[in-house]
Symmetry: C2
Subunit: 343 residues, 2 copies
């Protein structure tokens, strides 16, 4: 881990996290940087500045610890969303696995497209087709069985480009940020359009975020007694979509407090950032901008993957970011390292 | 606070909470009882026994701290539900307050019944009527406005029998139990049929339970921009009823972990206790039995208020409790004190 020199204000803050040596009157003190994978740019500075203000009881922007809620989108913000959402990769694998029990899928869309590996036809099936795929792959079993299926899948599935388990693809700078916020009294939440029961089996191990701090989309479940034991059956019916305007709704329903920090990467996160910024005190909103085709991907206003449906943000959101003082994180310029396995 | 003598095993446990004096080789050590409002009966002993087992790393029943989830029903478990649910009292007051803007209510049921103070006619309107009252009193404003309305109401409303603010009617033994569990690494949750946004403005002050640990029924909300600022509008449409089979569903959706301890008082809590008891390890299920007409109320299998619709448990649940090893707490016999203001 490299050591760097900070200004006095940052020094005090950084010392809260990890103290390399006691302060003396001697030469400048070296402290361990709590965000070593972030380059020394405005994005990093804005994090230090915000945390320094809201944690200092003498500062007019001070926020009591119980109200330090930070919300993070998952796909594209904490880990990649390309070439497709991890959960969609799971759904496709699951459809293939279940296919022998469903001979009719060979001739029915969108299942045929999945079995043929024809991703264009899958995309052409649109939202309705996507919902059908999710229902066929995510419902019809108990919550306990689904959890086991998901946990098993994560053990063997690999990202097609990086050839690593998805659980090793968390962005290293974001892992450091999560830890830094928690060390400063924040409660960190995931607020994702993804399925809450798809994420919960891995969030604690990957992000240090416990299941009860994961907000996401849900399908309906039903309490039943099976062989004398209560189970929750997963029904093929959508309950709640935690995306776009659904994110503030989900935050209000699950958390019941307005966050003071929000991190996203797509148009689906706009309302979450707006809602966070509309509080009465100081807040921090950041957007991860995928502009690094070399180490990850470049899309959205960065070009590169113009037709990508997965988690790009548009020029409209970029403009709103500028207007509202949201900090845009350039993966290329602001992150010295993207993955833990990067050198 | 009275001091009592414990057996050695309990002593070690109680010392974790509050240590009156260091242990010596002298006479038996006196420790401060963490549950002073509980009489020394089996109910109290079952709490000590359970907490002692799950917090002791050497015990086969040990449960890691992150998995120590305890769920509490609210009405009738943490505070009275008679002569009516506190939230219904709020709804009725609110209907009366809004009546001048709704001249049609003078001739329309169930509003007419509320304005006439005819509780029999209110009850006769059934569930459909109740939903109408809730929608008229709980929807049509922003979440921020509703929170302010609720907070204001709690400041002035009084319980008709005890003539105290509702917020002073938390059962003292349950406040001690909440605190005792938290001191032993438990995360305490409310899981109530009541509206989540009716409870959240008061749960932290009354029970020490933060808003994000309150699970309850919800109505739909909608994200809107009002005068350039985002708001969540409360719609007159039920989203989720957190009662009966809804309680395990709510627990799974909001918390995502199975509790190891559950506390209820009514037939509406049965499935929550069943779900808690169906975990793989040791668990504790308790039912508050309202059998104290003198200090509070007697109803359900205790008789007294046989037609009461609010939170009684039936003989069926009493039988299930015996079969499943659920502990029935007799308010009369197990609680030395019910309210903080009792002598």
């Amino acid at each position: 881990m490299k050591t760097v020199r900070f200004t006095t204000a940052l020094l005090a803050l950084a010392l809260l996290v990890s103290c390399a040596q006691p302060m003396t009157d001697g030469p400048p003190v070296k402290v361990i940087d709590p965000l070593p994978s972030w380059n020394h740019s405005d994005a990093k500075q804005s994090i230090f500045d915000f945390v320094s203000r809201v944690t200092d009881p003498e500062n007019p922007d001070f926020v009591p610890e119980s109200e330090r809620i930070a919300v993070f989108d998952n796909d594209g913000t904490l880990w990649p969303s390309h070439p497709m959402y991890t959960q969609l990769a799971f759904a496709l694998d699951r459809i293939k696995e279940l296919a022998p029990e469903h001979p009719e899928w060979k001739t029915t869309q969108p299942f045929k497209a999945v079995l043929d590996g024809d991703m264009k036809a899958v995309a052409a099936a649109g939202e309705k087709g996507l919902v059908e795929l999710v229902m066929a792959s995510h419902a019809g079993m108990t919550t306990a069985d689904f959890e086991a299926i998901v946990a098993d899948w994560f053990k063997t599935a690999r990202h097609p480009r990086f050839n690593k388990p998805y659980t090793e693809l968390a962005y290293q700078p974001m892992l450091e940020l999560l830890e830094f916020l928690r060390a400063n009294g924040f409660k960190t939440y995931i607020v994702s359009g993804g399925g809450v029961e798809f994420m919960r089996p891995m969030t604690e191990a990957v992000y240090g975020i416990p299941p009860e701090q994961v907000v996401g989309s849900t399908i309906k479940t039903k309490y039943e007694i099976e062989n004398g034991k209560p189970v929750l059956m997963r029904l093929p019916e959508i309950n709640f979509i935690d995306d776009k305007t659904g994110k503030p709704v989900g935050i209000n329903t699950f958390i019941g407090r307005r966050p003071i920090a929000a991190f996203g990467n797509s148009d689906g996160d706009r309302e979450m950032l707006e809602w966070t910024g509309a509080g009465s005190g100081r807040s921090l909103e950041m957007l991860v901008f995928h502009d690094d085709a070399e180490r990850e991907y470049a899309y959205g206003p960065a070009g590169g993957l113009p037709d990508s449906p997965f988690g790009a943000f548009s020029q409209t959101t970029m403009d709103e970011a500028k207007k509202n003082g949201w900090v845009v994180i350039s993966m290329k310029d602001d992150w010295g390292r993207i993955f833990a396995f990067d050198e």
